[in-house]
């Protein structure tokens, strides 16, 4: 199972061109740290949160909502809110080490985490 915070667990090949679903970003709480999370919602989407101070959040302009795959044990937007796009560093494409975990990281949105309503609808 992919760990939700993979700062030290696995080196990941990080592609520097945008833009799909798993991204590495500078942590909003600690600028020295980089975190890897999955992008759940983009600007304008309304998302139902898990454990955030507001039950429903509309992602503001220029921000994204990120979550780890392991809900409940993840330090993500449910803790610190939407993340500004300027903090986005790169997109994680592959897991390189250990060799038995070699894989391409698929852009996949869990069905229960789909945003409620998109801006254009």
């Amino acid at each position: 199972r992919k760990a939700s915070t993979s700062i030290t667990s696995e080196p990941v090949l990080v592609a520097h061109w945008l833009l799909k679903k798993t991204h590495s970003a500078q942590s909003p709480r600690n600028p020295e740290q980089k975190i890897i999370k999955r992008v759940i919602a983009l600007e304008g989407d309304i998302i139902k949160t898990i454990g955030y101070k507001k039950k429903y959040v509309k992602v503001p302009h220029g921000h994204i909502w990120v979550e780890g795959d392991h809900h409940g044990h993840s330090f993500d937007s449910n803790a610190f809110g939407p993340v500004s796009l300027g903090l986005l560093h790169a997109r994680a494409t592959h897991i390189l080490w250990p060799p038995q975990r070699w894989q391409k990281l698929q852009p996949m949105l869990p069905p229960e985490r789909k945003p409620l309503r998109r801006e254009q609808e």
Binding site: P28, R29, H61, G62, G86
Partner: protein, 225 residues
């Protein structure tokens, strides 16, 4: 004719005929004789093809020179491009500021010099003027003054409000405000800004170019703004 030319090349003094070489020793003559034969043969073959196909090697050489120069130019361009990119990313650069939110410290269209080392070494202090990626639009930059670092207590209400409200700057964030409080959208509008969005600190201001009466151009350098 070939004898004379070959003798000149090899440094031997000779007379017109092959048999009358006045070289240093008979052994020397024996050594150079095969070379001389090859030289004469070479001259003859070159001479026979000289009028017809001399342009082919000449054009090839031109093309090779041009290609070499192009690749060298591209190589230098890539090298200097990389150095320039690293300098702008990690050291600093010239920035043109626009907007009224930092008046009177920085006017519209002022040119300033920003350095990026403070950001990498986490030396941004309260009161610094910084260039920050806009939280709402990652493609644009904003220029504001740092009023509070993480943990500081800041006043979040407008100066015109009667009741003042205060809050603490969260961890990993800074509170930004423009010097022109009446005409500035800053942290009072969009809240504390993550430290990771800071791009650089302004350390020098190149004042506007002034034209004096006798048309000479003066530029001033002011530091510490």
């Amino acid at each position: 004719m070939y004898d004379h030319a070959f003798a000149q090349l090899s440094g031997f003094h000779c007379s017109a005929k092959r048999s009358e070489w006045s070289c240093r020793g008979a052994q020397a003559l024996e050594c150079i004789w095969p070379l001389k034969q090859r030289f004469i043969q070479g001259c003859a073959s070159a001479r026979s093809c000289f009028p017809k196909s001399c342009w082919a090697p000449f054009h090839c050489r031109m093309l090779r020179n041009a290609l070499g120069k192009t690749f060298r130019f591209l190589g230098y361009t890539v090298q200097y491009g990389c150095i320039a990119h690293c300098a702008f990313e990690y050291l600093g650069g010239i920035v043109v500021c626009s907007g009224p939110s930092m008046e009177p410290t920085i006017q519209n269209s002022d040119v300033v010099f920003s350095e990026n080392l403070s950001r990498h070494f986490y030396c941004i202090r309260k009161g610094d003027i910084v260039i920050v990626k806009s939280p709402n639009d990652p493609k644009s930059n904003i220029c504001k003054r740092v009023i509070g670092l993480e943990g500081d207590k800041v006043c979040t209400s407008n100066p015109s409000d009667f009741l003042k409200s205060h809050s603490y700057v969260p961890k990993g964030h800074v509170w930004l405000e423009g010097d022109n409080l009446r005409n500035s959208t800053d942290s009072r509008c969009y809240g504390p800004v993550p430290y990771g969005l800071i791009r650089g600190r302004i350390c020098l201001k190149v004042c506007e170019i002034l034209l004096s009466k006798n048309s000479c151009i003066n530029t001033f350098l002011m530091s510490g703004c």
